[in-house]
Symmetry: C2
Subunit: 331 residues, 2 copies
Amino acid sequence: MKKSAPTIRDVAAAAQVSTATVSKFINGAQRFSPKVEAAIESAIAGLGYKSNPLAKSMITGRTNTIGLSVLDITNPHFSSILKGANRVAHDQGFSVLLVDTEETPSRERRTLEELSRRVDGMIVFSRMREHEMAWMADIDKPLVFFGTLAKLPLPTVASDDHAGAYMLAQHLRMLGHRRIAYLGFSKSRRDEERLGGIRESLNAAGLELAIFDAEAPSLAEGERLCSAIVLGGQRPDALICYNDLMALGFMKEASNLGISIPQDISVVGFDNIPYGKYTTPALTTVDLQSERMGATAMEKLLAVIRGEHVEKLTKVAPQLILRASTIARRP
Amino acid sequence: MKKSAPTIRDVAAAAQVSTATVSKFINGAQRFSPKVEAAIESAIAGLGYKSNPLAKSMITGRTNTIGLSVLDITNPHFSSILKGANRVAHDQGFSVLLVDTEETPSRERRTLEELSRRVDGMIVFSRMREHEMAWMADIDKPLVFFGTLAKLPLPTVASDDHAGAYMLAQHLRMLGHRRIAYLGFSKSRRDEERLGGIRESLNAAGLELAIFDAEAPSLAEGERLCSAIVLGGQRPDALICYNDLMALGFMKEASNLGISIPQDISVVGFDNIPYGKYTTPALTTVDLQSERMGATAMEKLLAVIRGEHVEKLTKVAPQLILRASTIARRP
DNA sequence: CTGTTAGCGCATTCAT
DNA sequence: ATGAATGCGCTAACAG
């Protein structure tokens, strides 16, 4: 009984008008005589007609879909970005096609090149260095990139990681910390910015910085590296973690090792994921405004798609979230 | 300089063959003489030809895209489901078009009906009751639903919430708890199953169950309802939360109120989100296998799309995750 | 206001 | 093994 879905031609026939008229009516491109409008409407209702978006897309070249590529969707930083981006997209009639690269850059290029044919634009979060990204500029679709780009002429949205890290380090210094360590993640493009911010603060005071490097920005890596940090040689009196996940992992393992936070060591992170508030003690962190960044990136991309002019770089100001309990005052 | 992307016709012309030949070659439908194959290959390489997936989709009716609808992508339960589903999809050459309904059921139907035209199949997580879902069966695309369905002839993937809740309650009883409370979320379809599992255990011992109901399955609601639970009348000696988020929120606020966990009240949750392990004390919970459920649903859907026969219901067994520290032994 | 015409880029008969 | 012809469902000029 189920014949193939009714087409615009069926509607045209039933309403005794041309397909062009139906098409224009559907797209609200024009008003028609009440007679015609009524006829079309009842034909559509009668047949249960629904426009075929694929056929439409092929002609218009617009899919009303945006590709969003992130590194790990289970990381709250990225799910918040997705949340913000998706909300804006939805409000403007767009859908989000998700790509989770799972920290595997090898297939990134092919995936994105393929993706670019199915969407009106893309938002990309990548670990690639700028010199590996030249091909992105050749993709024939609007693209917004997360992070700063020195030369590539791509619009970007970035948090000010340098400033955030500087604030964190300054705050620790003010409270008397002197032996500060950084548990970083050098594979990330933002790692160096955070490192730079920390260094700027510490250098001014002539303080050394001990650096540890994680293989992944994860809870598990925070746990794994904890013992080396707190039991290996002179223990730092404060640890800045690349992100909150690592900070949470570190805190858990520190507790297992009998190390008290913040009495034995202060801990801070980045991202302000919701869960940092629910540990004991609650985690001091830098809010990078993940959801807002996602929304901003999507707004920017949709503006480009509409042909509007946009700034090359949109910088989102970070906010220090003081939950004093992971930080002690040092005498 | 940028002419519109090369089409199959350009390739055919350059290789001196027909478009049909190029089409068949690209899709590996057939072998051709070495001469022809070489000519086509070099034409493709020379022009940088890429098949237009939209045009292809319009003809074949297949988009290689799967729609996934979840309630809140920032909830780790759902981001894990997405992770699992996305991985399977990616491995089989499919992309995931995400819908985050943000717990707003009103637009769900329209959104999904529209989505159905752009994808080869859908996986849906919804708060709708079965009687509101009849229209889903009419959607002309394969669909897999999360949860159990009594009558609707839709393939489903479900966790055994009743069993999980029963285990939880039994465990609490074994450890001597008598005044057990449930912090539920009655808007959810699974709430009643969990309630049923708890009741089955408690009824056997003739124990009462105090019930509290949240407006949302969130951290904030766990916090909000905490005081009513621990300070309102006779305090329960154990609280089963609808999910881990609520449990985490509850634990935080309990601590603010000076209530010790588990000395004053034991707390358990559902989902086994990663962050439950990093609170103090660590949270005992029921692992519903979110990622596996996502993967299973996607496998099932792709099987349906391939025309294979699948079971109506795939049940995933839950696992009790004992992190004894949120549970005390009661004398 | 409404209709006619002409494809979009591709896969698919059905010839040869 | 290869090609000519046809049309998927729709929109975009251009006519009238």
